[in-house]
Amino acid sequence: MAALQDTIDTVEALAGGERYKHGFVTDLEQEFAPKGLSEDIVRFISAKKNEPEWMLEWRLDAYRRWLAMDEPDWAKVDFPKIDYQDAYYYAAPKEKVGPKSLDEVDPELLRTYEKLGIPLREQAVLAGVEGAPRIAVDAVFDSVSVATTFRAELAKSGVIFCPISEALRDHPDLVRKYLATVVPTTDNYFACLNSAVFSDGSFVYIPPGVRCPMELSTYFRINASGTGQFERTLIIADKGSYVSYLEGCTAPMRDENQLHAAVVELVALEDAEIKYSTVQNWYPGDPETGRGGIYNFVTKRADCRGDRSKVSWTQVETGSAITWKYPSCILRGEGSQGEFYSIAITNGRQQADTGTKMIHLGANTRSRIIAKGISAGRSTSTYRGLVSAHPKALGARNFTQCDSLLIGKDCAAHTVPYVEARNAHCTFEHEATTTRLSDDQLFYCQSRGLDAEAAVALLVNGFVRDVLQQLPMEFAVEAQKLVAVSLEGSVG
């Protein structure tokens, strides 16, 4: 319909003709490691971070093991071979050494985060509306953390929230005790690479019995060209504690593909609960040609180590050229619980292979998976999930619901569930649906005054509502807008 196309064109023009709104580059002086990957580069990174000797050895060991591994190829994604020598493994804004207050942070950087809508000024947050939620932020720019807010206040309740590079210096025993205990160095190719070259990320420790007094969040920004980002996050919730953590990610629009290979490890001890939310909006590449965009190859895993511990992963994946990740839970503690709520949206030429693994080891462990995949344009989206119960996991329960929504006729959705029950006393339920966005529903919405884009956004938001409700309130609204933006240009 010509008239419909007009509306879509108007909407796009209003949006600045640019669907991806975080695609700008911050112009500032940066320092790089020499291009390529070698033992020297690993030493360079470790030296930059003033790391203890054991850490350097740990990295070198990972690097040597990585050299002996092969890049995996089992995911339903398709991309040209990555040249690991053709990238920078360290890029950081030039600055004076040492820890800094917000006043010392390069104003250009502060403007960048302002533009991204990320609150770095504690006063600004405090001066906001009465009762507005306060959020502590760790801002990671390329390979380094540039600011972490509310640290003093968090320290009052014993919460440690700092860049992992700092934790390695200030809390080496804690880091050493937990690092790589959830995702072993050689777990997989990308996790192993990360272990060798990771440059920053967040470290969180919640002491026993403490309910973290505010949301914690980390914003990852890739800025420099030709670099990869390898962040490492480690969150430990000690006995009976609670924390809710959110991560967000954006990157400039570039013609090249950039690799983001992160490792996130969560440890929940007895009766502890961790809620981990992700709003992933890396640059998805050009929607027509598929040029550029981030390769998002991430290993995220939680160890519900203590009895009755609980971890819930919520993710809204809208960006990246390729997403390849399976936030998982190892349900080790008796009666521990794992949850996975996911919205994965692919448009243009994006590919996503994502899902979760729920490994039931302990008795009476429970898990719940709600995955919503939306594919538009010429994209592909695959849900891949594993639910397994080991012989000791008597009384294990899982409920999986996996829904796919297709928009248009050139996209594809796949569901690949794996189930392994190694004892006779577990209950696994699986429901899956695939629907196509219906013209009748679209017309119904339009006849009430919504234009084509708004109608799609409304229907899709309805489709993902169960999952959006899992996000902390203040992010749910953002995520809802993001859903609409990522589907612009998907009808017509």
Binding site: D439, Q441, F443, Y444, C445, G449, L450, D451, L459, G462
Partner: protein, 248 residues
């Protein structure tokens, strides 16, 4: 108000509306009756702008503006409202959200200020009360699991909230019980005004007992084959469409 002249509409290459002309002046209510498959819903969808309904000849305008050149949402913003014969279900979108989004979109298209949240809630409560609808129903996915009659009430609730200028009711009475028929009709009548027009499609006189039409038209085989006053509906009720079916 609404002027349709020599309208021809095909669906998938098959002609359904075949030279239909109709004029509804502002302030009037016109009833359209006719046998199953005559093209009544096709007419209402065409006026609302549904894709796949190809106008091969003729015109339709609202207050002199060519409706056929507008997208469905533009027509809605101009005040056209269709109460669907078969309302759609929208899972995960509560009626409150749906109506608010629609209202905001229409205000925006017309350059009017947004209705504030408290004002909106007040109006919804009032409208729901008038239609004897429970507010809890408005918090569930729109029409999901609603009975046929509940869906029809929901259409009228949307209509009361959006305050359209030209109303098309496609068999709003079907599926309503006796009390609901009266309640819904009262809702519709509340919108009758000198600057509004209505096209009421129905098979039964009992709706027209409540919503008194100014004119009644018989639609058969894609065109208007007879027009008259309210007494025409009574005659149809007695004698059926036989003679018109033959005439067409």
């Amino acid at each position: 108000m609404l002027s349709i002249s020599n309208l021809h509409v095909s669906i998938g290459g098959k002609p359904i509306i075949d030279g239909l002309s109709l004029h509804v002046p502002a302030g009037e209510v016109h009833a359209v009756m006719g046998p199953n498959g005559a093209g009544k819903s096709t007419l209402s969808y065409t006026l609302a702008g549904r894709a796949g309904y190809a106008v091969t000849a003729g015109s339709a305008s609202l207050d002199g503006e060519d409706l056929l050149a507008l997208t469905p949402d533009q027509r809605a913003a101009r005040g056209v409202f269709l109460s669907f014969q078969y309302p759609l279900e929208i899972p995960g979108v509560p009626a409150l959200t749906f109506i608010r989004t629609a209202l905001n979109a229409q205000h925006k298209a017309r350059g009017e200020p947004e209705t504030s949240a408290p004002e909106f809630l007040k109006r919804v409560r009032e409208a729901a009360g008038r239609l004897r609808m429970d507010m809890d129903m408005l918090k569930r996915g729109l029409n999901v699991g609603f009975s046929g009659g509940e869906k029809k009430r929901m259409e009228i609730l949307q209509m009361l909230m959006l305050e359209p200028r030209f109303l098309i009711l496609d068999e709003t009475d079907s599926g309503l019980d006796i009390d609901a028929l009266r309640i819904v009709s009262e809702g519709v009548n509340a919108l009758r005004s000198p600057d509004r027009g209505m096209l009421v499609i129905t098979h039964y006189q009992r709706l027209l007992d409540y919503i008194r039409p100014d004119r009644v038209h018989v639609l058969a085989a894609g065109r208007i084959v007879a027009s008259g006053g309210p007494e025409l509906a009574l005659e149809l009720e007695r004698e059926g469409y036989d003679k018109y079916a033959r005439a067409a």
